[in-house]
Assembly symmetry: C2
Amino acid sequence: MSFFSDLENTSIRNNSLLCVGLDPDIAQMPDIGILNFNKAIIEATSDLVCCYKLNFAFYEAAGAEGWQILHDTLREIPGDIPAIADAKRADIGNTAKAYARAIFDGLGFSAATVNPYLGYDSLEPFINSPARGIFVLCRTSNPGSADFQELQVQFECELMPLYQAVAAKTSRWNRLGNLGLVVGATYPDELKTIRRRYPDVTLLIPGVGAQGADLEKAVRGSINDKGAGIIINASRQVLYASVGQDFAQAARQSAMKLRDEINRYRNL
Amino acid sequence: MSFFSDLENTSIRNNSLLCVGLDPDIAQMPDIGILNFNKAIIEATSDLVCCYKLNFAFYEAAGAEGWQILHDTLREIPGDIPAIADAKRADIGNTAKAYARAIFDGLGFSAATVNPYLGYDSLEPFINSPARGIFVLCRTSNPGSADFQELQVQFECELMPLYQAVAAKTSRWNRLGNLGLVVGATYPDELKTIRRRYPDVTLLIPGVGAQGADLEKAVRGSINDKGAGIIINASRQVLYASVGQDFAQAARQSAMKLRDEINRYRNL
């Protein structure tokens, strides 16, 4: 099986384009340990999502134990639900190979986010994994993304923002059909542009919830003509819907509300 | 103490601009375990270097155990020799904080490499650590770095390659004097340009040895007018100088040769 077919199957079964970001912040979660917290969130939401995404920063903050929890959390996710390693890695060829090995073989993720700044050979060990989904950072959801991603660049006789040059290159590198793009919901116009130019690309879309993006705008501007092709990620909004004993139930309610709201804008 | 003062002190004491990259590749090293290998390399080279650099990919490839070895290796480095976390991290503000915490507080590194693609707020938690050295990827040593870093961008009414816009922004962000740049020895002309434009910036320079750069060109083009301001990294050339029982002694010979060769080009 491959990431994209698992994603499609899960998305259809759960009627969902929602990805829950398992980004445990010990300052915000109940004091039950990260693995138990993740288990409870997964149990409460696994019939409501199309995939999960784990941001490595929150695990690395817990050191070697955190890395083990990353590994163990993956085993708690039902095998037919794909999981994205949100690690934003990139390094020179020799080293990128070690990163890809760590994420795909060592931990067992079926997808990963990567940073394009170092160019093709830094992504090659990821790109060359046909069964994995590779999401290239394009227009990220944060305010600072404008610093470089919005700079006008000369790309093959055309003037365009850097993030569009990244999308153009990614589209060309997508010989195996396993590449997607990360575009923040916080930039709905850019989302629309990318969708118009690349009708078939799968978009991983963070930025709703705590980051304040308009969900309706984001979904309507990015959904493809089959009412799919997007993964809407929510982390804090779901994980910390309640900080009390009822956190898992509150996470379920929040995830269900989000899933249903996304579906309203899909025009199915 | 801060990274840059530790770096200067060590550099003077060891009369060295050489950084040894502790990037253990189990396929290339003797079968004695990563930590023992690192210990032997550190013991054999600690009077020949200005700092060490640990590329996280090689440790993450060994999973949770690898993360522990990263931690333990740092404890084997004499306290007055600084160590750079070559992790090339970057993420949105909230998450970048967790990465900075993992590297500086959790592991105890005094410097780190970061990727600029996500812009200012993704680097802020790193930049705001005055005692730490932050090296922003500018022109990386790999062939693919041309894909985006060489694109001509419009940056404040001037047309320049993206890597120069990154250098310009970094220079402006360097309010605390703790920012440096990563520029590959494989691009000696770009090294020269950066040095001419930024006479005071510290350059972390990978790409000699296995990557085939011309050491003399790289040093002569990048050294500042005090005969310093650069860190020349070598990994494979030192670590795998011999694959036999004499690997540590061979690493010492290789490091000494490199240090002395760099010094010949410093015009001291």
